[in-house]
């Protein structure tokens, strides 16, 4: 690669790092403006803060509607392996060179909150749990989708194994890349929600979330945490990286 190209890519990477915070400000500044004109000026709603509050309220209302729409027995469509998207896209809030390097040998999955057994799990122990796989469609909030094959343990099996309070409302996740997110218990217990360790039959590669990714074909991509290092069961909504910036919390498909 020539030098100018390299400089350009560094600049883009720096800019991308700045994106989450500045994007938030952009949202506040631009939600109402349209080509310099205030779209709703003339209406009673001229205060940007009140518009944002109103939109957030509708988003919370939409969380409730989605929880109501969610059918725990309805399965996402599965596809033949021939339909797997190759190469499966890499997607994160950072660039490839920032993918965390997790050492599998001394890796331990922390388990906490409303669970009976809080011991940390090594990869060896996790691999011994009953494994299954699925070929499902990953849908990104941006609109694109890709079909992939993930393998691991059914999450409900794991939750029962650790004696989780299955009547609790949320399961929260913390990741090695400082990402965090949380899901509702009905989705956590869905038959296709898997704690995955493999992609397309191989150990989950770093770009897809080594050592593990929670894969849910009933949720949008940003709800599927990668590089999970800790999980906890709770009745207080733990929010999420993108969710706290304005993306819908439920994020269901």
């Amino acid at each position: 690669m020539s030098k100018p190209m390299l400089d350009k890519s560094i600049i883009i990477q720096e800019a991308l790092k700045e994106l989450p915070s500045s994007a938030r400000r952009l949202f506040l500044k631009r939600t109402l403006t349209l080509g310099g004109l205030s779209l709703l000026s003339g209406c009673a709603i001229t205060d940007e803060k009140s518009v944002e509050r109103m939109l957030m309220k509708v988003s919370r209302f939409n969380d409730g509607v989605q929880a109501w729409l969610f059918d725990p027995n309805l399965l996402a469509p599965t596809y033949p392996e021939s339909m797997i998207t190759k190469p499966f896209p890499f997607n994160a809030y950072y660039e490839r060179w920032e993918i965390p390097k997790v050492d599998g040998d001394d890796y331990l999955l922390e388990v906490g909150g409303l669970v009976a057994d809080k011991h940390s799990w090594s990869l060896e122990e996790l691999y011994k749990l009953p494994q299954t796989d699925q070929v499902t469609r990953h849908i990104c909030v941006e609109g694109w989708s890709a079909i992939g094959k993930w393998g691991g343990v059914t999450f409900s099996t794991f939750l029962k194994r650790i004696g989780a309070d299955l009547s609790a409302k949320y399961v929260g996740f913390k990741c090695a890349d400082d990402y965090y997110t949380s899901i509702d218990m009905p989705t956590a217990l869905h038959a296709q929600t898997l704690l995955t360790f493999t992609y397309d039959g191989q150990t989950l590669p770093p770009q897809y979330g080594y050592p593990m990714k929670l894969r849910m074909p009933t949720k949008l991509g940003y709800k599927n945490p990668k590089h999970i290092v800790a999980m906890f069961v709770t009745n207080t909504n733990p929010g999420g990286y993108w969710e706290d910036k304005g993306y819908n919390w439920f994020g269901g498909s």
Binding site: F27, V58, L69, P77, Y247
Partner: protein
């Protein structure tokens, strides 16, 4: 003279028309910002004419205005059907009338002497745009909840196809709006009618 005094557009129709305009404008402009996050075709919409500022903002607008569009649309359709207005104003559409009205429209002879009555082309176009908005809502449901609406998903030909259907239905609404506004400019009385009712 007499027909001039008569209320042609009842108040519920006028209110729902303008609410629909607000809902459609928000849906389309925020929809363009959402489209830009992962364009289906080889172009993006200029940021200046989109709503939301970034993807999350646009999604919030889109999924707030959808309630306005859907509930306003349901109220419009219910009153329209139950009051018999839909039947009276839009049916029957005869092929013969359709041809005649279309040729007249092309010649620039707009039959606006009788504003109480739609000509055959108007009847057809208004019915088509109602069907198109229904298609927009249904394809939107598949994009929003592909797992929860399996039958609709299969009808649309899976998730990726539903996005294309949703986009094309949006283009159809835009095409309708352009023609609709041109007609209103040509026959300004109709604009007053949608405000005053007569």
């Amino acid at each position: 003279m007499n027909s001039n005094k008569k209320i042609i557009h009842p108040v519920w129709l006028r209110v729902s028309h303008w609410i629909n305009l607000i809902a459609v404008v928000i849906m389309v402009l925020s929809g363009w910002e959402i489209y830009n996050a992962a364009p289906i075709f080889d172009f993006s919409f200029p940021e200046q004419i989109t709503l939301g500022g970034w993807l999350a903002g646009a999604l919030m607008w889109h999924f707030a205005a959808m309630w306005l569009l859907v509930f306003n649309g349901l109220i419009y359709l219910s009153i329209n059907i139950l009051s018999g207005r839909l039947q009276n104003r839009f049916f029957p559409i005869r092929g013969r009338d359709l041809r005649g009205a279309f040729i007249n429209a092309l010649k620039g002879k707009l039959a606006h002497d009788y504003l109480t009555q739609y000509n055959a082309v108007q009847k057809l176009v208004y019915l088509l745009v109602i069907a198109d908005v229904i298609l927009l809502v249904l394809s939107g449901l598949v994009i929003w909840k592909p797992v929860q609406f399996p039958l609709l998903r299969e009808l649309m030909g899976d998730y990726d196809n539903a996005r294309i259907v949703h986009f094309l239905a949006m283009v159809a609404v835009l095409a309708f709006t352009v023609v609709h506004v041109v007609m209103v400019v040509l026959v300004p009385k109709t604009f007053l009618m949608m405000i005053r009712g007569r």
